[in-house]
Symmetry: C2
Subunit: 340 residues, 2 copies
DNA sequence: CTGAAAGCGCTTACAG
DNA sequence: CTGAAAGCGCTTACAG
């Protein structure tokens, strides 16, 4: 019985019934007499028989497999989203296959997303370059013929798919406002690789927040970098070295916790005391945030909830667009500014 | 053309050839005249046709899907393993589906591992209770009829599957030896939920290391906890409060970086200065290790490499057992002990 | 309650 | 170089 596994025919033959009957007891559907049911179940157990999900998918058109596309699992942020989605999917009898971003533009036919007949696909979108946007939209349109698609993350408002998206402009506005409330006036924003025409993006909210507080928008306090600690460190380092110390920001809003961690290192290297000399606000509330020094103030973006909601939305068939939940997590890295 | 997608029959009909021919150009195998090939390809492109991987799997017995079972993706350690495996799998045209541990004992037939006819399965094993061991071995034996299995992680030496395992006893011996070299004599080990009869386990190496240095094995310096920061914090806290300060350990070897982070917090709460009063050695070299204060000395367990190697071993068909690579990463959290 | 038969969308010998 | 036919392991009307 090495690497084989029996088929429904083996079971039927040994139980002395038709494969139709075996199929019925397998799925618990259709009427089967208690006696034959018991008989068939015994044979199934004896053979340790498991029906082939792929044969079942072939005939029933349901694969009970969902696809998910994430930027990179190495950022725990995405691992949380995936975990939330996976747990919810299992609850409804589904499995989630994870695809990397690259599979959206992959040439290998054996792996193409479209080849897999999944019951649905969740795509986690982050800000893209204009060309990236075009390409994504194009690909989604193709995939749409094969499966239902749901979008999550920071999804531009002009995408027309069922969506759960973070209200980033609002989050940024409130972030600025929070720091202003702590006495900060020189507030930097570090992060964001590309611009986008969506009016929900971070930049917009950052600027709005400054305007609402009647504070000047200073180009020197705006740095672009991708979402890694190294990039964050380099970005803040460059900002500091380009400015006389008197003009250094007293607070920085980081794209995410990784960038915030990098900023912490850059600030320390410059001899700044945290949080007295510089407040740092992260985003995503990674597991390590409480263990940094100072413990990082961040934003809980409820990633597991987002993942679970995405699965529910995908399975529900609804077309709506919703906001994802979020909340400040106050710790030590943002402090009242009392002069330097 | 909404949510449908064409089949090989549609393509064949429109191109005026048999499905056999379409199949041949699809797979690039078998001889097809340049002319008909071009004709068929045009139709395929026009329809944006993608053959169903599930129908292909049905007939060819190859699904180009690998399964992977990991304890929990929320620990970046496992996310790294998965990423390494996934990248390698894609290189050879495979996809990896991730299953949680719970699926090893799942009752839902629709999701059962055995239902999915995967080309192979990688199971990442951590130390288990004796009963957990029994159950796992049992389950693996069942699954084995359906697919090839490879084990990775901390795999007891009496498991007989192709394996890549960390030489934990050796790692622990060298860890103790490293700390002894820094002048430490009171070295604690915090971690490990269960005992196991495998002689490669951490405890064994820890004890050996102490013996080699002619240092006493002190039960009070041995704490059990699971691999989370909270557990690590609680464990060290309890150890410290159970001992007169004069007997406090001067160094602790943590199960992993999460536990190490928890230990840092516990030590700080007790007023210990790090690393002067207490050296802490982590394991797994998580991305945040360099950003802790003091930067955490840890062990790079080359997780992505492990993941990639696991895929290669799975696909190779070889039966060997190998050691996984590892290496110390020296940072600031382990320092020479100069008295307290 | 039970079974014979068609069909899901492909691949693969086997003929020609 | 090309195609008719069988078969992969199931599910699902349709009869009985």
């Amino acid at each position: 019985m090495s690497t084989s596994g029996s088929t429904i025919y083996d079971i039927a033959a040994e139980a002395g019934v038709s494969i139709t009957t075996v199929s019925r007891v397998l799925r618990g559907s259709g009427a089967v007499s208690a006696a034959t049911k018991k008989k068939v179940e015994a044979v199934i157990a004896r053979h340790n028989y498991h029906p082939s999900a792929i044969a079942q998918g072939m005939t029933s058109k349901k694969t009970y497999t969902l696809g998910m596309i994430l930027p990179k699992l190495l950022n725990p942020n995405y691992a949380m989203i995936f975990t939330g989605a996976n747990d919810e999917a299992r609850r409804s009898g589904h499995l989630i296959s994870l695809f990397p971003w690259s599979s959206l533009s992959d040439e290998r036919p054996a792996l193409s997303l479209a080849n897999r007949r999944m019951d649905g696909l969740i795509v986690c979108v982050e800000y893209l370059s204009p060309e990236g946007n075009e390409r994504l939209l194009e690909t989604l349109k193709e995939l749409r013929q094969y499966m239902r698609i749901v979008l999550i993350g920071c999804v531009p408002s002009y995408y027309s798919y069922p969506t759960i998206s973070y209200p980033m402009a609002e989050i940024m506005r409130k972030s600025v406002s929070y720091l202003v409330g702590l006495g900060h006036e020189k507030i930097a924003f570090i992060g964001g690789t590309e611009e986008d025409r969506d009016e929900q993006r971070r930049d917009v909210g950052y600027t709005q927040g400054l305007q609402e507080a009647h504070l000047p928008c200073t180009a020197s306090y705006r740095a672009f970098c991708k979402g890694t600690a190294e990039a964050g460190e380099a970005a803040l380092e460059e900002m500091l070295s380009s400015l006389l110390p008197a003009y250094w920001p007293t607070a920085v809003i980081a794209l995410n916790d990784l960038v915030a961690m990098g900023c912490m290192n850059a600030a320390r290297k410059r001899g700044l005391k945290l949080p007295e000399d510089l407040s740092i606000l992260g985003c995503d509330n990674l597991f390590c945030a409480p263990y940094l020094s100072p413990a990082l103030t961040s934003i809980d973006t409820r990633q597991q909830e987002l993942g679970a909601d995405a699965v529910r939305l995908l399975l529900s068939g609804e077309e709506k667009r919703m906001d994802a939940g979020w909340e400040f997590v106050y710790r030590e890295s943002c402090a009242r500014y009392a002069g330097r």
